[in-house]
Symmetry: none
Subunit: 539 residues, 2 copies
């Protein structure tokens, strides 16, 4: 094992600069607890001077007594003024945290263009601000903004900024690739040069992903000698995002032998990443390295048969090390062995010799031929398999639906749905409006079932995708609808196919509700039996 | 400028292994044309032996006479058999392409575990297969699967694989990091070592993104001496995807000074990446480096004011170099100059000083903000511009539509539409059934108009795409519908956006018909004037 690396998480500060990301104080507290459990060393909570949300967060997070050090972010004092009078610096102190991240300029161009001051005054701003925070007993992490651009333009000045920060008492000197334009070999060369010039300093790295190199740049810096990495979970952040800690941590720990997290905590990585994406309400790309749903998914038939012999053939690590799992995607190219291994994964027993096993495999192949795709619809596949296996009890019988969309010039469009079901032999007929036809159908269907199965209120549709299957015949061609649903603990995917987009949506919708009902019980049993034996499987 | 680098695009082969990606032969042809225009050097089209879709693709793509070399993919011959009898190799030859990509094993572990043969037989399989393809006059690109894992485990054997391939006549030796687990410094060291051992060979690199390092690994290999990079657009591919050419190309060309594409073609990068994501129906992450919608978006107030002084303060390159643009997240800045140059392209005169010019630009920006996208819907844009310019005569007035979908258990679904229009002051009310709701609306709309404009019978909808714009709110979120229409001579694209998929489809449908009617005349004039001056523009 090499020397230990400090992980500095700025999901709650720099991460919230990402487009579409906005976190309440409650959201931030939930994320902080989760990050602390994962074992990161620093959690940057926000900018205490900027808004009420961050002030509330700092007050409440300190009461949680987390292991991680909480840090507050701010800039050097304004030009031509006193640090003691600087509102931003004083807010950082008032936040009551043990550590402060102070950002200062290290690119001469920026001093002139953005700050519009002299190089000397910028050095004084850095020095005064750090000294003031140190006198208040704070650990100071100095973020040298645009360090690499600065070093390339004027190495003496960039270096003098770091020296000045160190003299003033900064505990960490962090080199930032703020614009994300530096190449990994440049990072390595510049950090290596620095380690010779200022030996013994505690150095850190903070990169952005504008060239899709933030992870590589962080690793380059570690190899050249830094011991702190600043980044965000899932790589959230402005423009193309910050360095993604979800990739950096396992790369350092599993590939390069650094001490980063406690080994048992690394298993929390996937769960933590997905939890944070839920809280942030940002869809996690299926192909996200290490923690994505497809990170260890196998599609091709040859790959699958090799994987079944030895998973190292097509997996660079055992997925369990980061809390993820192997998935075999059922696709047209794949045969009976894929389906059976899938059934096993779902805990459904199938004897390959039985007649109903052969029938369900034939049925799945026929459905795939019609355009169904089960690789993105595990829940629909599970329903088919359970049905074939006889351990599926249908809780309602479909009778009919009608769906009406009406639009008159200058008036908003209206969508209404009417659904007729039989539940326990009783006909139930409901009508509902919706924001669009699928929403109207969803509302009418739930209205019918929720009286019987109140647990349905906890689930909702979280994603809806439509794909036209061939374009030979335009509006008469087939469409495939994929629906993702979720409740507090799980998410599941269902599929529907038809030449009619409404019918395809209805199919996927009904599967989603049927799957949710697997783990549900009727109102009369609602209190007594919280789970009906085998609940929802985590997909 | 350093030596030229060959870009080998495998979006159409390895890219389609990505979860949720499935391309028809038509889709593949469209993408191939777009890639060719961008200027990639090789386009790997698929596996000719695998399915009818790929066979059709190879037949039709050769008729396009593209600049790029088309390559077909396949594996070395089966063990203990003759290359001449190998169905896969023969299909590659029958595909009629100038180049073949042949994959072979270079990791001893894989030879034993996956192939279940001897190391010697694997060398013979490689040698025989290459020699056979060379005798047929093909250029042969040899992909050494798992090269880095193989080299780390048994460097002599991995090297002997490359030597054997070269002796047999392979034109390129490509080192694959198939499982995506290799670190950038390892790639650099291994490739550097190889360049000393087999100097003069044409080497390539093929990486996967399992550690979020595929781009960095490709750059490492280039710096160590390779001159071909294999990757996919938007990084599509199995598990975590392949190396993303959309990041690699600008990194090489703009940052490292390599000769890759013609400089004016690099400006097509963003457009090409987005077009392909539309065709593949895969949502492009807003934060995708270089080509994403947020890649040059600025949110923070301080950043924005610095950007306005000098964009280099927070932009690592000028976004225009890759055809992207700066966005300030307060307002959408679609760029008046873009719209005016588009109008000129369509032959519509606009004076930038006129009030109606300003109005139409403001309107387009507002529509883009709502989710309309005119990059793929030139006809809708042209209608807006002609309307603003006053040279657009509306041939009908919309009054209302109703659309009913009805499904009863065990009976086929029924779709009906009712459309009310005013044509020449006369109310026309039609009803029609259809194979799905959009088809029913299309039928009812045409029924109303065709009596007056018989030329409409020559046009039909040729493609229909639906995209969900955000997944925050599932069935209540917005959808964008793109419709492609065509007649004997032309094809054109229109767009509609709404939270209601039926309303969005209706909008795109109406635009499609309005555009078709631009070149049409009424029945009484039908014989006399075959074209009304400016006909349809070919999109």
């Amino acid at each position: 094992m090499s020397k230990p690396i400090s992980i500095f998480d700025t999901t709650l500060r720099d991460g919230t600069q990402g487009e579409g990301i906005s976190l309440s104080a409650d959201d931030k507290l939930k994320i902080a607890k989760k990050l602390d459990y994962l074992g990161v060393h620093y959690i940057e909570g926000g900018i205490p001077g900027s808004n009420g949300k961050d002030i509330e967060f700092f007050k409440r997070v300190m009461e949680l007594k987390l292991q991680a050090k909480i840090t507050a972010f701010g800039s050097t004092r304004r030009k031509d003024s006193l640090a003691e009078h600087d509102a931003g610096l004083n807010k950082m102190i008032e936040a009551g945290v043990p550590a402060a991240t102070l950002v200062g300029k290290s690119w001469d161009f920026h001093v002139h263009t953005a700050l519009q001051t002299t190089l000397e005054e910028n050095l004084a701003m850095i020095s005064d601000s750090i000294a003031y925070l140190k006198r208040q007993g704070l650990e100071v992490i100095f973020d040298a903004e645009h360090f690499f651009d600065g070093y390339k333009n004027n190495p003496e000045y960039a270096l003098s900024v770091l020296r000045k920060a160190e003299e003033a008492g900064a505990d960490w000197l962090v080199m930032c690739d703020t614009n994300g334009g530096t190449m990994p070999h440049e990072v390595y060369d510049i950090v290596s040069a620095l380690c010779e010039v200022i030996p013994g300093s505690k150095l850190g790295i903070h990169t952005h992903n504008d060239c899709e190199l933030a992870v590589a740049n962080s690793l380059s810096a570690v190899r050249a000698g830094v011991t702190q990495i600043q980044g965000t979970m899932n790589g959230y952040g402005e423009r193309c995002g910050n360095a993604n800690l979800c990739s950096i941590i396992p790369n350092l720990q599993l590939k390069l032998g650094y001490e980063v997290l406690e080994p048992d905590r690394l298993k929390q990585l996937t769960n933590t990443a997905r939890y944070i994406s839920e809280i942030a309400n940002v869809h996690m790309p299926v192909n996200q390295p290490y923690v994505g749903n497809a990170a260890f998914a196998h599609k091709g038939g040859i790959h699958v048969s090799a994987i079944l012999r030895d998973s190292r053939t097509y997996e660079h690590i055992a997925p369990e090390l980061v809390g993820n799992r192997q998935r075999v995607l059922v696709s047209e190219l794949a045969g009976q062995s894929n389906i059976l291994s899938k059934a096993q994964e779902m805990g459904i027993e199938f004897n390959p010799e039985n007649e109903n096993t052969k029938q369900v495999i034939a049925k799945i192949k026929e459905l795939e031929h019609q355009g169904y795709q089960f690789e993105g619809a595990d829940a629909s596949l599970e329903l088919l398999l359970r049905q074939a296996n006889g351990d599926m009890k249908e809780l309602f019988v479909f009778e009919s639906f009608k769906m009406l969309v009406e639009k008159t010039a200058d008036r908003p469009v209206v969508s209404e749905a009417f659904v007729k079901l039989k539940i326990d032999g009783v006909s139930v007929y409901t009508a509902a409006e919706g924001n669009g036809p699928v929403n109207a159908l969803d509302n009418a269907l739930r209205k019918a079932l929720i009286t019987y199965y109140p647990g349905l209120k906890d689930m909702h549709l979280s994603d809806y995708k439509v794909r036209v299957l061939d374009d030979k015949d335009a509006t008469a061609s087939k469409v495939r609808v994929l629906i993702e649903s979720q409740d507090y603990h799980n998410s599941w995917n269902t599929v529907g196919v038809s030449s009619n987009v409404i019918e395809a949506s209805w199919e996927a919708l009904v599967d989603s509700i049927r799957y949710a009902l697997l783990g549900q019980t009727k109102r009369e049993d609602y209190e007594e039996i919280p789970s009906a034996g085998w609940g929802l499987v985590n997909h």
